[in-house]
């Protein structure tokens, strides 16, 4: 059992291994945004290892396709943006205070108009997603 306070002014951002999972654009889970990441809860935070949380700052980028191949994500926009999400021909603009859910298996377009800070909750957690991608694509650590 655990109950943990993460002070806002003590949060530090890094790359968290995202730099290792740069995939070619033909891959469905290609990712093309520079993201600074702070770990809040990894797979070890829970007994089941299926829930994780990160705080992220994404740099502006042009729209690119991304498929949520093996995970589901809930995003809450804290500041900046907008984040433009395209889904089945419609463009949704997410601004601070908005929520977004991207279920498993769905393909979207992702565009950051201005730098955006958000908290994102994943199942499975990001450390598991990165490990699975490294194994799937044979990426070097």
């Amino acid at each position: 059992m655990d109950c943990k306070l993460i002070k806002g002014n003590a949060i530090r951002f890094g790359t968290y291994g995202f730099e290792r999972i740069n995939l070619p654009p033909e891959r469905p889970d290609y990712w093309d945004t520079k993201v600074k990441v702070a770990k809040i809860a990894e797979s070890t935070a829970t007994t089941h290892g299926r829930f994780g949380v990160t705080l992220e700052i994404a740099s502006p980028c042009k729209p690119f396709k991304h498929k949520f191949a093996g995970y589901e994500e809930v995003v809450y926009i804290i500041s900046g943006g907008p984040l433009r999400i395209g889904y089945k021909g419609e463009i949704h603009e997410a601004w601070p205070g908005d929520f977004l859910v991207s279920p498993m298996g769905e393909e979207i377009t992702w565009e950051v108009v201005n730098e955006v800070k958000y908290i994102t909750c994943h199942t499975p957690p990001v450390d598991i997603i990165i490990k699975e991608r490294e194994e799937k694509y044979g990426l070097k650590k």
Partner: protein
């Protein structure tokens, strides 16, 4: 299942919380993201009014991001107060006492789904 965007305005439609199995007059939440949009997580806003004071065992894993006010946690002998900008992670099964003198407002996400978990516990007579 679609990719869903819920606007801040829509997400801030708060209701009395039944998250602990009974209506609290000082706790309000919205379940902006819930089943069937998400199969796994519930997310929304939470507001606790001044004077809220309750001890409970968390039925889910939970993350809270504070936007306004303060909330004091007493958990397994440790006491801390969360303020705007702070994040608190609570693992499922952790017994916590929550109290706030001035009230607080923030964002939360639970894993797994909150409503379904509480309803299952009610059926089992555990809440």
């Amino acid at each position: 299942m679609p990719c869903i965007l819920v606007s801040e305005k829509e997400a801030k439609k708060l209701e009395h919380s039944t998250a602990t199995g009974s209506v609290s007059t000082k706790a309000f939440i919205s379940q902006a993201i819930a089943s069937p949009v998400s199969r796994n997580m519930t997310a929304g806003y939470i507001r606790l009014d001044p004077g809220y004071d309750k001890e409970l065992e968390s039925p889910v894993d939970e993350i809270d991001l504070f936007l306004e006010g303060t909330l004091t946690y007493v958990c397994e002998g440790t006491t801390f107060t969360a303020r705007a900008g702070d994040i608190v992670f609570i693992a499922k099964g952790t017994r916590v006492r929550f109290s706030t003198e001035e009230g607080c407002f923030g964002f939360f996400v639970t894993y797994p789904l909150l409503r379904e978990t509480v309803e299952a516990l009610k059926r089992q007579g555990k809440v």
